[in-house]
Symmetry: C2
Subunit: 263 residues, 2 copies
DNA sequence: GATAGAGGATCCCCTTAGGGGAGAGTCAAC
DNA sequence: GTTGACTCTCCCCTAAGGGGATCCTCTATC
């Protein structure tokens, strides 16, 4: 009959752990003094202690160990655990690749995040603009057009409004542009404003601060980031204008989100 | 000015997380209504939110993110994180290798654990025995011999007593055996009983239950286990007799610990 | 027999990054 | 005025024990 301290030294488990295992009904002392509450263990319990310790060293949880001791299929538990560990290893590898990407990139100007944009119904319009600065005249006109056609149509909450550049190539002039805005339902179309559904989309997102003329850096960054981290581009990049000339005096305060759909 | 729910939808952070980040002083709302307690955010804070979210997706802790936002060297933080992740990956790999070893081994009869035995002073004696069953006559005689030489010498607490087989090969007869027992100090020697110091030793430990004639399986297991998991044997295997003929009637209750020193 | 020190007991708080829910107050629309 | 959607604060929960406070028990020594 060993007191808890002796059993602790022999089993190489801390006293705290032994008391915890009793509470969890993993390893019950052979006897407990009714008056003093002292726990007493038998040497034969060292075997159980070793089994528990071995399981903990395999990083099995208390619940898993309890299941095993209750006769669950150890092989099953272990192969489940192996699967979980493999998944964890993959995640760690992905994180490492991202961090190394950032460490090599040197510039922390942009930070990519992954998010999922919900499916939506949008009204959209396309045109070809002489140059970028015409965008902010064009977009408000679309809203009016749409409201004229569909007076009762509402924008979706939260607002989601973005531009795409179907050209695929960068141009300084004659820019083909498509503007999209999420709404609550389809409505009447005409030859300017049409409707379509966009599906739920996983995107890489970065925020670009400042004037639009340096937005190319942001594109460069996000494309390289995607490539380095094993993302497959899956659609046209979306630009969301958050702060701009309409609400910020200083060009340095303009804020644009760039979303790259990925798989 | 966005209410917390709107900001949550735009930033893709939960309301709970936003409140938590305020408590942690990571992301303070641009203003808080003095009377209602409502938090109000500005669109420009989406950028901060995205930065925080990006950091969390790199699995950086709140403390690390706060350090970065306070101007700490992001590169340093990231390379520390990369180091930690690499270490974690190694640990995961080790666990996976152990689990696969167990899954392939099929038999769960033995469970290896790693532990560290403290340094100790031992008295020891060697002899050659006709066969294994003579051990239990021989060992008690050593204790008497030692007490005769050193009446005041005490055994170390916890008791640590083990046998080694310096032969290195398995024999059925003419077994060379060395018995060691940890004591509190050196004492007088004679030609039977001598003293020496043993250093702190990392060992792999398994428990063998039952008669000694099947102990070979335990040895086989522990050696294969060590080999499969990249341990280097670093000394003679130690046998600790925990339960045996002296206190257990049934041979099935005998319990022996086998310790393999490893690097 | 008294006492000191070691070791045992229980109980409470702490760790991460928020999640879940209760109860109460606020805001906008109908 | 009411209803329903939001929002607030406050409390408890996670896994596996660690750290510490306070009180009790055992053993050795004087």
């Amino acid at each position: 009959m060993l007191k808890i301290g002796d059993f602790s030294r022999l089993s190489h488990l801390t006293v705290k752990a032994l008391r915890f295992y009793e509470k969890e009904k993993l390893l019950i002392p052979a006897s407990v003094d009714e008056w003093t509450g002292y726990r007493f263990y038998e040497t034969s319990q060292l075997e159980d202690a070793a089994r528990i310790k071995a399981c903990r060293q395999l990083d099995l949880s208390i619940d898993e160990i309890r299941a095993i001791l209750s006769g669950a299929d150890m092989m099953q538990v272990l192969s489940d655990k192996a699967k979980a560990l493999s998944e964890q290893r993959e995640k760690t590898d992905i994180l490492l690749s991202r961090i190394h990407h950032m460490l090599e990139g040197k510039e922390m100007k942009y930070q990519a995040t992954e998010k999922v944009m919900p499916a939506a119904t949008v009204f959209y319009a396309e045109t070809v603009l002489e140059n970028y600065s015409d965008i902010m005249q064009w977009i408000p006109s679309l809203g009016e057009e749409c409201r004229k056609l569909n007076p009762h149509l509402r924008c979706a909450e939260p607002e989601y409004e973005f531009c795409e550049y179907p050209d695929g190539e960068y141009k300084e002039h004659d820019i083909q542009i498509r503007h999209n805005q999420a709404v609550t339902a389809r409505g009447v179309e005409n030859d300017v404003v049409k409707f379509r559904e966009i599906p739920e989309t996983k995107v890489l997102s970065i925020y670009h601060k400042g004037a639009y003329d340096s937005i190319g850096e942001a594109y460069a960054f996000i494309m390289k980031y995607a490539e380095d981290n094993g993302y497959q581009p899956a659609g046209l990049t979306r630009e969301c204008y958050i702060d701009g000339i309409w609400n910020k005096e200083s060009v340095d305060d303009w804020l644009t989100e760039i979303q790259l759909p990925v798989r």
